[in-house]
């Protein structure tokens, strides 16, 4: 079904990354005006994607303010903010430097706080303008905010912070017509996941990447990893007016992975 976001103005941070790109593409097909905010036009992939590119470092207060000023000037409001910018650092706390710790919190947590903070005046206008009197913020948590993957300590902690921030924002701004939810993906086939399996942090070194991915898929009840499009399907719904009663929730989307007890073999 197309047109669910017809007439809506949306901004997606990390809009040129693996998942962000799929979200921008979907939003555009659903009729939204999309700003793809990222560090560069290519992001973590190559080439342009859907939506108007907007240069944004989510850790910079000045750039965030400027980005929202541009949207305000061009569209006069914002209906949907997706905080999809994020990074992963693959270490235990013992091998995480303070600089790395600060960097991942700056991007994953501060990078959710700042765009949300400076989007609020625009989102209030969006809520006032929309037929259903509401605007939507969608944050990116992770199933790692609930249960740990080995060697990802700072990442797990940063996503737990996003989960708590999501509930807090939903409480504080619900009365203004702003809904706030988080999506908590499991294993999604993105450049970040391939980097995780290529790196030492996962302990998965050795096997050819495709073999590794096949075995990872087999652990899932659905026997597959997620795709960026799977995530975009849920973002699209949470952004739409069909989700008008959904707020303050953490939506785990992981192919059933975390519904299981650890899967022992042999």
């Amino acid at each position: 079904m197309n047109g669910r976001l017809s007439g809506k103005i949306a901004l997606v941070t990390g809009g040129r990354g693996g998942i962000g790109r799929a979200i921008c593409d979907r939003f555009q097909r659903e009729g939204a005006t999309v700003y793809a905010a990222d560090l560069s036009e290519g992001g973590s992939l190559s080439g342009a994607g859907a939506g108007r590119f907007l240069r944004l470092d989510v850790t910079s207060e000045d750039e965030t303010r400027a980005a929202m000023d541009r949207v305000m000037g061009e569209e006069g409001r914002l209906d949907v903010l997706v905080n999809a910018a994020g990074i992963e650092i693959e270490h235990t706390i013992e091998h995480t430097s303070l600089a790395d710790w600060n960097r991942i919190f700056a991007i994953n947590v501060t990078g959710t706080f700042l765009p949300s903070k400076y989007a609020l005046p625009l989102l209030r206008r969006g809520a006032a303008a929309g037929g259903n009197g509401q605007a939507s913020i969608i944050n990116f948590g992770s199933y790692d905010g609930f249960i740990a993957d080995p060697g990802l300590a700072a990442y797990c902690a940063s996503k737990g912070a996003v989960h708590a921030l999501t509930r807090a924002m939903a409480c504080d701004h619900g009365s203004e017509g702003i809904r706030v939810n988080a999506i908590c993906p499991g294993y999604v086939d993105t450049p970040m996941l391939r980097s995780f399996f290529g790196g030492a942090g996962s302990g998965a070194g050795g096997g050819a990447l495709d073999t590794v991915l096949d075995q990872v898929k087999a652990i899932h009840p659905t026997r597959t990893c997620g795709t960026p499009e799977d995530i975009a399907n849920l973002v699209n719904w949470l952004a739409s007016d069909e989700a008008r009663y959904a707020s303050g929730q953490l939506w785990v989307l992981d192919g059933g992975l975390s519904a299981q007890v650890q899967q022992m073999r042999f």
Binding site: A204, V216, L257, Q260, V261, Q262
Partner: protein, 250 residues
């Protein structure tokens, strides 16, 4: 003075709880569907009973009250496990498992709360499987989720005088666990793999659960109610998918 009823105390976790509360000075009645175990300490009162039967559950309280007065501690430990998916589960399986795990817990809690002077602490034995699924254990998993929900309801409804909590054990070293490994194609490897998935690098012991029960029925936990505590050596704190364990095989 603690006067306790512990269901399913003939062996395993239940027996460890019996031994511990006895050592802590409690008067204890325990029950099972069979005869009194020959190695049960003489100080423990035994009753043959099926907790799934409401009259037999109520009779346990009558017996305990006649022997040592109002019961102020109830530990619902009796439980069975059936290793089947929903499609494989028969009506008889349902009646047996839900009868003991769900109705039995309910019967005992109701009998405890219907004492004219009901006060004290209830501890229900749930399971990590009530929150995350073990494969081919469908109605067992569901029955433990019932136990967790019942625990919160009792805590909320009977707050002033009765505390009610649950324990969610993980893999505890009992005859049941060893039987599981024996079924693996490579039991030694299955055991090593399972151990590696526990942050504690060991399985639980019945005493680990008894330690938690002892705390939850003591004054030390006087403000604790309505909670479900996971005691699993860290098993469920980690993802079900641990790449390092899957791929670093010889």
């Amino acid at each position: 003075m603690t006067r306790a009823i512990i269901t399913g105390g003939s062996r395993g976790i239940g027996r460890a709880i019996v031994d511990r509360l006895l050592a802590d000075g409690a008067q204890v009645l325990t029950c099972g569907r069979g005869d009194r175990p020959s190695d049960l300490p003489a100080a423990v009162l035994w009753a043959q009973a099926d907790v799934a039967n409401p009259a037999e559950a109520a009779a346990l309280f009558a017996k305990a009250r006649a022997a040592f007065g109002p019961v102020d501690v109830l530990v619902n430990n009796a439980g069975v496990q059936i290793e089947k998916t929903v499609a494989e589960t028969t009506d008889a399986d349902w009646d047996q498992l839900i009868g003991i795990n769900c109705r039995g817990s309910f019967n005992m809690c109701r009998a405890f709360l219907n004492q004219p002077d009901a006060r004290g602490a209830i501890v229900n034995i749930g399971s990590i499987s009530g929150d995350v699924a073990d494969p081919s254990m469908a109605i067992y998993n569901a029955s433990k989720a019932f136990v967790h929900g019942l625990t919160r309801s009792i805590a909320v409804d009977h707050g002033p005088h009765v505390r009610c909590n649950a324990i969610r054990p993980g893999w505890i070293q009992t005859g049941m666990l060893e039987a599981g490994f024996a079924l693996a194609t490579d039991p030694a490897r299955a055991r090593a793999d399972a151990l590696a998935r526990h942050a504690a690098r060991r399985f639980g012991t019945p005493a680990d659960i008894a330690n938690t029960v002892a705390w939850l029925v003591s004054d030390q936990s006087g403000f604790v109610t309505g909670q479900c505590f996971t005691i699993d050596g860290g098993l469920t704190a980690a993802s079900p998918l641990q790449p390092g364990l899957i791929f670093n095989q010889d």
